[in-house]
């Protein structure tokens, strides 16, 4: 059973923090990811 989730400002703020860190972390691998994508497409 899926429990209902109540939205809370702290939850939103910390989720944004988590996603921001994730995005910034992944940014350093942009050249690798782009090159892999290029390889996959070609």
């Amino acid at each position: 059973m899926i429990r209902p989730v109540s939205i809370n400002p702290a939850m939103i703020a910390t989720s944004i923090w988590v996603l921001t860190i994730f995005g910034l972390y992944m940014l350093q691998f942009k050249p690798i990811i782009l090159s892999l994508l290029r390889q996959a497409i070609s």
Partner: protein, 639 residues
């Protein structure tokens, strides 16, 4: 034999560790998973300790290895009633089943690596090469090379043990690194269960074992992943200290810290961190505990420092040469000490002071300088993601933290981190791997407290873990690709080595030649697979052959090679490690011009930046094989 050797060594480690726990009166105290994890970790260290002494007296033989390991394994049987294994079905939640499945995938990927051949450069250069060299000698020999030769080698002693047991087969070694590479995860799981629910502990185990730094180092035989076991041994001791007035916990702390020091020089920093924490939390018994722990550390961890001191006068060769005011000798002198000082200062200054002291975790996660060797082989984003929740948890528990059982452990790793930043010299992020399980457990334990206070934080905390695991599992896929290709190619050994070791065709060609006594190598990863004896000539870390740029004289270079019995040279062109005016590169050219070297072969091979990601760049590199021709060499006659 390849499979029997790691199995026997696993049983030996369990038996040896259980004996130690019994001696410390701790065997019946803890849960099964704790006892198994601790027994293995302690026994792993004890095997390494024992094989130092076997080598020191020249008893490296398969018979001796089978005798010692057989005895240790047999000792497990009288102790088996202390391990009450239950085979009752365990009920897992849906989430736990998912985690179990992912753990299985990661295990399978690492097992594929274990079925392949060693290809990681550091391991080929010394982690695996030194044990092979010692076995060929039949005893322990002093390797007079700073930083990766004359260093504490406890872990490499276990590699030596498995090679002796397994008839020097590569598979015995790689299967052993597979087993010992996952043991820290098991111990992390066991320790974390004291504070965390099962699914959290399983997630931490998976996260730790699939960190890019672990995938890179655990299966390939690096030291740091296994050092985590020794840190966890000390953690168990510190936690137990509060409620156990006997010497058991203190001995456990001493053994764990001693094993760390016997494996890596940074263990000396760890001894300081663990010691301070022990003294602070020993209360009025601080002096007694300090003495017992100190003596234990000396007995368990002192042998390699004594070995170095015996051969060079410097227990931390070559760091204390100037401080001890040692006289110039065969292996080191004041000039080399100055060079080493400059090298270490250069390495130390590769990151600015503010990055080191104020922003190391942030820089290592988000924008790592090259010197940190993070990024593709780093720690992933979890540690930064979880920070706000940990801070919230610490705030919610601020009145209880000081009395927490985890407090001495947290203090220890904090002290180690500060000491490492100050004196660790090389700012490589993987050097923090040993303390990472404790960091993870502390962060998770306080985050759980944050959830208990603010339940809506459950979702972002879960999101942080899910995203981190997703990244790690993606890395597992990339990491496993060459090993899957190896398995699907029908385990084509030569093809695998050619595809995964830069310049391997040059080694393959050399191995087909007759009459090679000893080869001078300028690329360290060649050492493991070159069949004949070899000498790696890196500038500034060894004195037997001068290779420092600006100081290499052809005549001296020739004579030093002759003293070492070098018959051939295998080098890249130009010689990458020493090129420019008066370098190894120019000395080889001069010697060839003088008729001292006969050119045997030029080999052009492909060269890739990364084994795992071919898209990162590749090229071609030239290698030359030279034969020393003493008859034609004027320098030989002049001596």
């Amino acid at each position: 034999m390849s499979f029997v050797a790691p199995v026997l060594l696993t049983l030996s480690s369990l038996g040896a560790g259980a004996l130690l726990l019994l001696a410390f009166r701790l065997l019946n105290k803890w849960s099964n998973v704790e006892k198994i994890g601790l027994s293995f970790a302690l026994g792993f260290g004890l095997v390494g300790w024992l094989f130092f002494w076997l080598g020191a007296v020249g008893w490296y033989s398969p018979e001796a290895a089978w005798g010692v390991c057989g005895l240790l394994a047999v000792s497990l049987f009288p102790l088996r009633q202390n391990f009450t294994l239950s085979f009752a079905p365990i009920k897992f939640s849906a989430l736990e089943w998912v985690l179990l499945g992912l753990i299985f995938v990661a295990l399978a990927a690492d097992f594929l690596e274990a079925l392949a051949l060693p290809v990681e450069a550091d391991s080929l250069a010394y982690h695996f090469q030194l044990p092979k060299q010692f076995i060929e000698e039949g005893r322990l020999i002093f390797e007079p090379r700073a930083l990766d030769g004359a260093i504490p080698l406890l872990m490499q002693m276990t590699y030596l043990a498995v090679l002796l047991l397994g008839g020097s087969e590569d598979a015995a070694l790689t299967l052993w690194t597979f087993v010992s590479g996952w043991a820290p995860g098991l111990l992390l799981y066991a320790f974390s269960r004291r504070w965390l629910p099962r699914h959290w502990s399983m997630a931490l185990l998976l996260l730790f074992q699939t960190l890019p730094a672990m995938l890179y180092g655990a299966g390939s035989g690096h030291i740091e992943p296994r050092l985590a076991m020794f840190v966890l041994i000390v953690a168990f001791g510190l936690v137990e200290l509060k409620d156990n007035p006997r010497f058991g916990p203190v001995l456990l702390i001493g053994v764990g810290a001693g094993l760390y020091a016997a494996s890596k020089y940074t263990g000396l920093l760890f001894i300081a961190a663990a010691g301070i924490s022990l003294l602070i939390y020993s209360g009025r018994h601080w002096f007694r505990n300090g003495i017992v722990c100190g003596v234990t550390i000396l007995v368990v961890g002192g042998q390699w420092y004594g070995w170095n001191a015996y051969h060079t006068g410097d227990p931390i060769f070559p760091v204390l040469f100037s401080a001890l005011d040692l006289e110039d000798g065969t292996f080191w002198d004041a000039d080399y000490a100055d060079t080493m000082k400059d090298t270490l200062a250069l390495r130390n200054n590769q990151i600015s002071w503010w990055v080191r002291w104020l922003a190391y975790p942030i820089a290592a996660t988000l924008f790592p300088p090259f010197a940190m060797e993070a990024g593709r082989v780093g720690f992933g984003p979890y540690f930064l993601m979880i920070v706000p929740f940990s801070v919230a948890g610490i705030w919610s528990q601020r009145h209880k933290i000081k009395g927490s059982l985890l407090a001495p452990v947290a203090l220890m790793i904090f002290l180690f981190y500060i000491l490492w930043l100050g004196f660790g010299s090389i700012p490589k992020v993987r050097h923090l791997l040993p303390i990472l399980p404790i960091v993870l457990i502390c962060l998770a334990a306080v985050s759980l407290k944050a959830i208990e206070t603010w339940s809506h934080l459950r979702i972002p905390i879960g999101l942080a873990m899910a995203l981190s695991l997703a990244v790690n599992m993606g890395v597992v896929g990339f990491f496993a690709r060459p090993y899957i290709a190896y398995a699907t190619s029908g385990f084509d050994r030569e093809m695998f080595l050619k595809n995964n070791i830069n310049g391997y065709p040059a080694v393959a060609w050399l191995n087909q030649q007759d009459g090679i006594d000893k080869v001078l190598l300028t690329y360290r990863a060649f050492r493991y697979y070159v069949r004949s004896a070899s000498y790696f000539v890196y500038p500034g870390v060894q004195k037997l052959i001068e290779a420092r740029v600006g100081r290499v004289e052809p005549e001296t270079f020739w004579k030093q090679m002759r003293v070492l019995g070098i018959s051939h040279i295998l080098t890249d062109r130009p010689t990458y490690i020493s090129q420019g005016t008066a370098s190894v590169d120019t000395a080889i050219k001069d010697l060839a011009g003088a008729g001292c070297l006969g050119h045997m072969k030029e080999i052009q091979t492909s060269w890739r930046t990364s084994r795992t990601l071919s898209s990162l760049g590749s090229g071609q590199r030239l290698f030359d094989v030279w034969r020393l021709d003493a008859e034609a060499c004027p320098y030989d006659k002049s001596s």
